[in-house]
């Protein structure tokens, strides 16, 4: 079941141990940290999660998730 039911589970989000509700999706996690999903790209356990799959990809305990965006650089 989606939408954040179930007990908390721990993931590593951008290098920080983070608790999320069981059943949470990548989409819910992304919405917690950014206003606009089009400004980020997401990797889960070193695999790209395409934007179209955010809401159907569940977060599992121990997942290592990277949410990245653009910054200034040369």
């Amino acid at each position: 079941m989606r939408g954040g039911s179930g007990g908390p589970l721990r993931v590593v989000l951008n290098g920080c141990e983070t608790d999320v509700l069981g059943g949470a999706t990548i989409g819910q996690l992304v919405d917690r940290v950014v206003k606009d999903r089009s400004r980020v790209a997401v990797e889960r356990n070193r695999e790209i999660v395409p934007r179209a799959l955010y809401d159907t990809t569940d977060v599992s305990p121990g997942d290592v998730i990277e949410v990245v965006t653009l910054v200034g650089g040369g």
């Binding site: 290098g15 920080c16 980020v40 653009l70 910054v71 040369g74």
Partner: protein, 258 residues
């Protein structure tokens, strides 16, 4: 002047600017405008979990009709991390173009050539247009081309050093042998460095710190634009042969003085 073409991308300007080290976004955009650039580099980093929601994202600042975004793999120290970064950049909707850099160590920031070649091979197969940052080494440049690079980008001098074109003969050799565009990337400190690079026949110059850390960045951006155009024109014009000794420009005949 003939435009710069790298695969199917066409740019009127032969200058590519970075987006790092500026005082703020307004100064950065003003520099881009003054330089005439149509292509700008950016980096990928983790979003700030606490503050990203309040922040102006770089993608909200860049007018993509005017500026093509060239994502880089800066900060990657092995081929695998460069591949991950490249794929994330494509997922961000930046298309197939990529400035590939795999750095060897933090002190020199010199490229790890072997890892760059390996990553180029993989990314070229995945359809990326790989603009490969490399040493000023004609052998490495050729290997990158053979691995499928769309362009090779030898350094003028170490990243952020502003030391200019340290090995002009190698840059000229790379240009003479390459079938893909050659861009000087890194080490450009001031306008004359851009002119020297362009006079050697490179197709374009990529720079960041030389503008961002000038006392007046917008004025320097303008200087870089003129240097780039002047250098290109001088290359196309073909310089006079060098001579060991002087040769008078006024005739010896008809002198009426002693």
């Amino acid at each position: 002047m003939e435009p710069l073409r790298i695969r199917d991308r066409v740019f009127k300007s032969r200058l590519i600017l970075g987006s790092g080290k500026y005082k703020d976004y307004d100064e950065m955009i003003a520099c881009w405008e003054a330089s005439g650039t149509e292509c700008v580099t950016v980096a990928l980093r983790r979003v700030d979990l606490k503050h990203e929601r309040e922040r102006r994202n770089l993608l909200d600042v860049i007018d993509r009709k005017r500026f093509t975004i060239l994502p880089n793999t800066a900060g990657c120290y092995n081929a695998d991390d460069a591949l991950r970064t490249a794929r994330l950049a494509r997922e961000l909707g930046l298309g197939e173009i990529l400035k590939l850099e795999v750095i060897a160590d933090e002190e020199t920031l010199l490229p790890n050539t072997a890892a760059t070649i390996d990553a180029t091979r993989v990314l070229a197969k995945e359809g990326f247009s790989v603009w490969a940052y490399t040493n000023d080494d004609p052998v490495a440049a050729r290997a990158l081309e053979e691995a499928g690079a769309a362009a090779v980008m030898p350094l003028g001098a170490p990243i952020g050093s502003g030391l200019g074109i340290l090995n002009p003969r190698n840059i000229a050799t790379i240009v003479a042998r390459a079938k893909v565009p050659v861009l000087v990337d890194a080490g450009v400190g001031t306008a004359s460095d851009v002119a020297v690079a362009m006079e050697l026949g490179v197709d374009a110059v990529l720079l960041n710190t030389g503008v961002a850390k000038a006392r007046d960045p917008v004025l320097m951006a303008r200087a870089m634009k003129h240097a780039c155009e002047a250098g290109r024109l001088a290359f196309l014009a073909g310089r006079m042969p060098r001579r060991e000794m002087a040769a008078p420009s006024s005739p010896k005949e008809g002198r009426f003085t002693g």
